[in-house]
């Protein structure tokens, strides 16, 4: 083992150094994760915590980074309708979240402000109430109950007095919650080096060479070697996955978010469209636009976001907006995550989803140990990209 070179601009490099066939020196790791967002950050930290030598290669904030635009929900109640493996995986992640939050604060001092006080999905019409009732029943039948129930207006008002008369009722799930997603990203990046891993920002992987048992990554003039490789590069995964026999057909779906000034607390619950942060700011969504690689904001969408949230909470009329942004969700063809192990390049894995916050607990504390073991657990087979090639029955 030779000590890694230290470059203050790019962080400390701790992997062992080995000679390439050309005689140049190269850092080698048990695991390299490509993609330093919430998915890659959680997997890399989880693996390092288990004792593996790990590097996290991160293009940086120049990338379309969903982790920088996230709303911050740990959202369970509606995940996996029609796809029970996703419902169960999401529930497991919510259960693992308190352990993740406490491990991160212990390692880094960053409190990610996890609050699992339950979540409300407001219904503004009888049709929405019926759809919510159907979904609750269906998910109960498919995946078992987790206490989700439909509340009428009076029941909602007893929990949240500030709702408007437009609210007909809500689906309430006691295991939903929320978290500060920017602090989560910061904590994961900060925790990795404290756990013995290398966080390597400012690098784009151009090519990947493979011989059985070893991958070599080309990032500009640098080379990095590893036994195992995870591709979790968000929208960049579509380009990288085929290099190691994986398929990650992800596309962008824009969401815009409107944030108000900090105000006194008025809602303690997560909701699907609005949440109040631990410091008082109110985040409002939710929009979905298929506009390609364009993360701009637009006035008509922001106006709709404000109008629908004011219908739910009329008091928001008096809040000043201080910030808006657009960000690109990472969407698979069916909206469910992809977890896969390469057949042609054993040791290479795919991990992507559009719920990097909700699934962070499972990624760090269940998926990462599985990847560092010998194979993915059987229940993750349902998430293989092979599902996109099954002809409809």
């Amino acid at each position: 083992m030779v000590a890694g070179r230290f470059d203050p601009a790019r962080g400390r490099v701790r992997g062992c150094v080995k000679l390439t066939q050309f005689g140049t020196r190269m850092k080698a790791y048990d695991l390299i994760v490509i993609g330093g967002g919430l998915v890659g950050g959680a997997i890399a930290w989880g693996a390092a915590r288990g004792g593996a030598s790990v590097a996290l290669i991160d293009e940086g904030d120049v990338a379309f980074r969903a982790a920088r635009g996230n709303f911050g929900l740990v959202w369970v109640q509606s995940k996996g309708a029609g796809f029970p493996p996703y419902a169960h995986w999401t529930r497991r992640s919510a259960e693992l979240w308190p352990g993740l939050a406490s491990a991160l604060v212990e390692s880094t001092g960053v409190d990610v402000a996890l609050r699992q006080t339950g979540g409300l999905a407001f219904c503004l019409s009888d049709a929405e109430m019926e759809a919510a009732a159907d979904r609750i029943q269906r998910m109960h039948n498919e995946s078992g109950g987790i206490g989700t129930r439909l509340l009428d207006r009076d029941e909602v008002r007893a929990m949240v007095p500030e709702i408007g008369d437009a609210v007909r009722g809500a689906a309430f799930c006691p295991v939903d919650g929320h978290v500060n997603p920017l602090k989560l990203l910061r904590a994961l990046h900060d925790a990795l080096p404290r756990t013995g891993g290398d966080y390597l920002p400012g690098r784009t992987v151009d090519a990947i060479d493979y011989v059985p048992g070893s991958f070599t990554l080309h990032a500009g003039a640098e080379r990095f070697a590893c036994r195992k490789l995870v591709i979790s590069a968000g929208l960049g995964s579509a380009r990288l996955a085929p290099m190691v026999g994986l398929e990650m057909p992800v596309t962008p779906l824009r969401g815009q978010i409107v944030v108000t000034e900090r105000v006194r607390p008025f809602i303690d619950y997560a909701t699907i469209h609005v949440r109040q942060t631990e410091e008082g700011g109110v985040m409002m969504g939710t929009s979905q636009e298929a506009v390609g690689f364009d993360n701009a904001t637009s006035l008509p969408v922001m106006r709709d976001i404000a109008a629908s949230n004011i219908a739910t909470f009329p008091l928001l009329r008096d809040a000043n907006v201080v910030r808006v942004w657009g960000a690109l969700r990472v969407m698979t063809p069916d909206g469910f995550p992809i977890y896969d192990a390469s057949v042609t390049h054993p040791g290479a894995y795919a991990a992507t989803c559009h719920s990097g916050v909700t699934l962070a607990g499972a990624h760090a504390l269940a998926l990462a140990p599985a990847i560092m073991g010998n194979e993915l657990p059987a229940f993750l087979n349902a998430f293989s990209a092979g599902r996109f090639h099954v002809p409809p029955a």
């Binding site: 500030e162 000034e261 900090r262 105000v263 006194r264 008025f266 008091l315 809040a319």
Partner: protein, 108 residues
């Protein structure tokens, strides 16, 4: 601490926390209150630190006050009017109810 350069403008009276204050026509609320000797204009939303106007041009948001019942207004960007009612803003604004003002010693 602050002294007006031009006293030729007409005097007007407005109310700071129900007490009459004399200002000059055309001044901002922030300028009028600085000239009247006020130092603590608001307390910040998270830590409660006391703040006063800093940039006086609408950028720093440290002069937020409740003006005519509306909270989080930039006192440096509002021209004072006769009879106007101005209050200090003790921490984050409330969307649900009027917040009691802080005691004088909290914002002195």
């Amino acid at each position: 601490m602050f002294r007006r350069l031009d006293d030729a403008r007409a005097e007007i009276t407005f109310f700071f926390e129900d007490r009459p204050v004399t200002a000059r026509e055309g001044e901002s609320v922030a300028a009028a209150l600085l000239a009247a000797g006020l130092r603590g204009f608001r307390a910040t939303a998270v830590s409660g630190a006391v703040r006063a106007p800093w940039c006086m041009m609408g950028v720093c948001f440290d002069c937020l006050m409740e003006i005519d019942g509306l909270a989080s207004r930039q006192a440096c960007m509002v021209v004072v009017q006769p009879g106007m009612s101005v209050r200090r803003q003790p921490g984050a604004k409330s969307l649900t109810r009027t917040v009691d003002s802080l005691d004088d010693e909290d914002l002195a």
